[in-house]
Structure formats: C-alpha cells, structure tokens
C-alpha cells in the first residue's frame, strides 16, 4: 500500500499518458511533468511566503498574518489565505517602466530570470523515479543554468537606468560569482566520492543503511563541512539574509528590481524563491540523501514526502537565519567567500580524497575529522584576526 503511495505520481502520469495516442506520447509526457512542476512549486512558494511571514513574526513576538482565510467566509485558516490577496495585488498593480529604461531588456529580464530557474528543476529528483530529465551530467546542467541567472540580474539592473538598480546588480553578480566557487567546490567533493554527476546515482550512493542509519553524506566529516559550505553558499546564491546586500533596502532601495512593479516584480520574487528551492533541493540531493529516509525503519514513508519535508525543514532554517543575523558588509562578504570558504572547500576536497583512499575504519574518521576541525579553527582564527573589534570610531560625527 505504501509502495502504491510512493509511486502515486508516477502511476498517475502513466495513467494520464495512456489516454494519448502512441505517437504523441514522447511529447505529452514531458508536458504533463512540466505543468506539474509549474503548478507545485509556485503553490509551494505561495505557502512558504506565508510561513516565512508568520515564522519571522513569531520570532519577533508578533502574530504575523492571521486574518485572510477563505474569501467571503468567516473562516480564517490562521492567515494562510494571505497569498491570494498578495498575488492579486501583484497582478493588478500598474506596470511602470521608467522613461529612460531600455524597454526591451527591461521587459526580458524577469523572463530570463525565471527560465533558468525553472530549467534547473528538470534534473532534481523529487522522489523515487521522479526525475524529469536524468542527464548524465545533471549536476553540471544545474550549475550551468544557475549561472545564467546572473545575466538576468545584470539585464534588470542595467536596463532600469537607475543607480540603485545598477549598484544592486553589480553587488548581486559579484556575490553570486564569488559564492558559486565554494558552492561548486563543495559539490565536487560529493562527485569525487560518488564518481558520477548524475543526481540519481548520487542518491543511490546514499540509499543504504548501517545499523538502521542511512549513509547520507552529511554524516561524514567531509560531507558535514561540505554541507555547511554548500548551505552558506546557497544562502548567498539565493540572496538571503545575511547575504542580502543586493537588495539591502536601507542602502539601495530594492537592488536590481527597484524599477520593477506589478507582475514583473512578482516574477522576480517568484524567480528568487524558486531559485532558493532549487538550490536547497540540490543540497538535499547531494548531502541529505535526497528522497531517502534517515533511518531504515522510516523507509515506508513515501519518498516525495521525505523530499518535500527536508525542503521545508531547510527553508525553515533559512527563515530562522533571516530573522537572526544582521546583514554583512560588502568587504566582509568577499573576505568570507575568498579567505574562508574557498580554502576550506579546497581542503575539504583533499579530505574527501583521503576518505576515499583510507580503509573504512575508525582511523579514517579520526584523521578526516581532525583535518577538517583543524582547518576550520585555523581559517576561522585567520578570518577573525584582522578584524578590529572594539569601540566604533566615527570620523565625522561627534
């Protein structure tokens, strides 16, 4: 019965495709999958925005949105109907294009932003047998289309003819380029161990159990530090606090989408969140075992529930971090990427190599753990050393 539930979407797809003549099937199958992704993830996005607002509210000892429920009734659903008026507001707002803007590029930027993000969903395994396009080089595909987002950011910032937009775009691109390196390098350690760029292979490598505990990569020293690096880099890639300098509202209004309103703004918003979900999905696949269960006695729960559960959990950590940490300064951001994360990622690759070639016993744990911990402490000390902590001196005030 649980196997049935596990494969419910796959079976539903087969059942649906059964109605279509044989010739059209190769065309219709991807179309159904694409429309499924286009339905599920924006819906997930709308729910997550409510969760984010409510969660941050609770952290700040507020209620958060708790009014809007089902329209025209008294049912409030604790405010989970809020996404509907939010979306309607976005759709019905006036679409303003600055007079000096480059009209075509200004129009294309949100579209160019959304397309690579949606493309990156095609390689993610959402559950057992639930991968749209299982490329041999799936991981490379993911990073390649992820890199195309930067072009969209630049287009938005440059075409608006606004200094804040341009500054925001430059910040965003500099940040994305810098943090893409630790992101990819931390994924490389997984690729080295698994020996494949195919995401289903990476999951299959993690899908067995010793003493009832899964072989997730995060449960190894190199995998743990790789996951931490990947997590921080994905925070930066998706422009979330504390790395939200590109849209630091106190400095540059809204960054590269300052001059966007109405539906185009909604597309940017959607693109940003979908990009965040995609990169978290990749992190889950690489380090947290994808759709596999952490303990063997929980393996009966359908795989897609595990995937979405892990996704939601990590998004909650993102929200939690957003409500906790203040924004970094630009030089702190760059220092952190180049002087801490990059060396640590390189050392992590070395440690992964040592892990691969050492015999599987406790010595391996000791050596790799000691290397990682030592590198972390030393690099962290190096990062903190040049900081002048103490009373702040104002040059012009006072």
């Amino acid at each position: 019965m649980f196997d049935q539930l596990d494969q419910i979407f796959v079976n539903a797809l087969h059942w649906l495709v059964g109605f279509v003549p044989e010739v059209l099937r190769p065309l219709v199958t991807p179309l159904i999958c694409i429309s499924f992704i286009l339905m599920v993830f924006p819906a997930f996005f709308s729910i997550i925005t409510i969760f984010e607002r409510k969660g941050i509210g609770r952290i700040q000892n507020r209620y958060g949105p708790n009014r809007v429920g089902i329209p025209f009734t008294k049912i409030r659903l604790a405010g989970f109907g809020q996404f509907l008026p939010d979306g309607l507001k976005m759709l019905t707002k006036e679409d303003i294009v600055p007079r000096a803007a480059d009209k075509l590029v200004h129009f294309l930027a949100p579209v160019v932003m959304l397309i690579p993000v949606l493309l990156s969903y095609s390689v993610l395994p959402f559950g057992k047998n639930m991968t749209l396009a299982d490329y041999d080089a799936g991981l490379l595909f993911f990073f390649a289309v992820g890199g195309a987002v930067e072009i969209a950011v630049f287009m938005a910032g440059w075409s608006s003819r606004n200094k804040y937009s341009l500054l925001g775009a430059m910040r965003a691109i500099a940040q994305m380029v810098s943090y893409e390196i630790p992101l990819i390098l931390s994924a490389v350690s997984v690729v080295m161990i698994v020996g494949s760029l195919k995401l289903t292979d990476i999951i299959a490598h993690q899908n067995h159990y010793t003493f009832g505990i899964a072989h997730w990569h995060v449960f190894t020293p190199w995998g743990f530090i790789g996951f931490v690096l990947f997590f921080i880099a994905s925070l930066a890639e998706s422009n979330r606090t504390p790395f939200d300098l590109p849209e630091a509202e106190s400095e540059i209004i809204a960054g590269y989408f300052t001059e966007y309103s109405g539906f185009k703004f909604a597309l940017f918003f959607l693109g940003e969140y979908l990009g965040m979900f995609a990169i978290i999905g990749l992190g889950i696949t690489l380090f947290l075992g994808g759709w596999t269960a952490p303990f063997s006695f929980l393996a009966w729960i359908p795989s897609w529930i595990w995937f979405f559960g892990k996704l939601t959990a990590i998004i909650f950590v993102f929200i939690w971090i957003r409500a906790t940490l203040p924004r970094l300064r630009m030089d702190q951001l760059m220092n952190f990427a180049w002087k801490f994360m990059l060396p640590l990622a390189l050392i992590n690759i070395l440690v992964a190599g040592i892990w691969h070639y050492m015999a599987a016993d406790w010595q391996r744990w000791l050596v790799c753990g000691a290397l990682i911990a030592g590198a972390y402490v030393l690099l962290g000390r190096g990062l903190m050393q040049n900081q002048k902590l103490g009373k702040r001196i104002y040059r012009y005030a006072e």
């Binding site: 590029v105 490379l140 992820g146 630049f154 341009l166 691109i173 494949s196 195919k198």
Partner: protein, 171 residues
C-alpha cells in the same frame, strides 16, 4: 529533430549577426550570450551533452558576465555618437564575405563529408573523465597551469596602480 536543428542554427546565426551590428555594447554582449546559448543548444543536438552544459557554464555564466563587467568598467555602456566601424571596414566585410562564400561552397560541394548519418555516439561523463585523467592528463595539467597563470596575470594587469609605488614598472 532536423527542424529543431534548423531553428537553433537560425537563432545562433541571427544572434551572432546581431552581436556585430548593434551600436550599444551592452546589447552586443547580451546578444552574444544568446549566440553562445544557441551554440550550446547545437552541441546538445549533436549529442555532446557535457560540452553543451560546459559551454553554458563557461560562456554564458562566466565570459558574458566578464565582458559585461568590462563594458561597465570602461564606461562604454552608452551608445557612441561617432561611427562604430573602423576606417577600412569595407575591406574587412569583403574579406569575411569571401571567407564565408568559400567555406560555404566547400561545405556544400565537398565529397569528403560522410553522406550517411552515423548513429548517435554516446559520450558518457565517465568516459570523458577517464580520457582526461589517463590519455590527456598532461594537457589537462598544462591547461590548469595556463589558467592559473592567466588568472594571476589578469589580476595583476587589472590591479589599480599604487600611487606610492611607481618603481615596480608599468603594469
């Protein structure tokens, strides 16, 4: 499949033509990104998955961004008032037209090209990796060295000249 190939080829060709005919440099850079995406799509249609993805990663994700940054850093994002072509541009266009005619004639009439369509070869990532790590390991190392040298060189060239230290020679 042929229709897709022709559409991709047309997009690539049009984007490439756009790159060289627009006045605004940023538009040129964006059209270049489109042209490179078209080339990547052509690679995908030729069953070269890995190379296609690498093309997007390197050209759209890195080189296009680099060029855009260079355009902004040299303040050439605005449309120039003067002519954008060099003085002897007619000769250049003529030469390139001749090159294209010659190449096109050769491609269309050559008998050396294989006439029958070969079955799609597979290029699994594993094989590429094995080849890079065994047969082509020396070129790989050299490329790595060249890239490192180029990176350091680029940083040194583009570094801001230090006002106090002029003895270090002109960068």
């Amino acid at each position: 499949m042929t229709l897709a190939l022709i559409i991709t080829a047309l997009v690539t060709v049009l984007a490439a033509a756009t790159v060289m005919s627009l006045r605004n440099l940023v538009h040129c850079a964006l059209a270049m990104a489109v042209a490179f995406s078209g080339v990547a799509a052509l690679y995908l249609q030729l069953n070269a998955e890995f190379v296609g993805f690498a093309e997007i990663l390197v050209y759209v994700g890195a080189i296009a961004i680099l060029i855009v940054f260079a355009i902004l850093l040299t303040r050439s994002g605005e449309t120039p008032e003067k002519s954008v072509l060099t003085s002897g541009w007619l000769a250049g266009v003529a030469v390139s037209a001749m090159v294209f005619t010659l190449l096109g004639w050769a491609v269309l009439t050559s008998s050396a090209l294989p006439k029958e369509i070969a079955i799609a070869p597979a290029a699994p990532v594993k094989n590429i990796g094995d080849a890079l790590m065994s047969k082509f390991v020396l070129p790989l190392e050299i490329v790595g060295l060249v890239l490192t040298a180029a990176m350091i060189g680029a940083v040194i060239i583009a570094l801001k000249e230090d006002k106090k230290d002029n003895s270090g020679g002109q960068p």
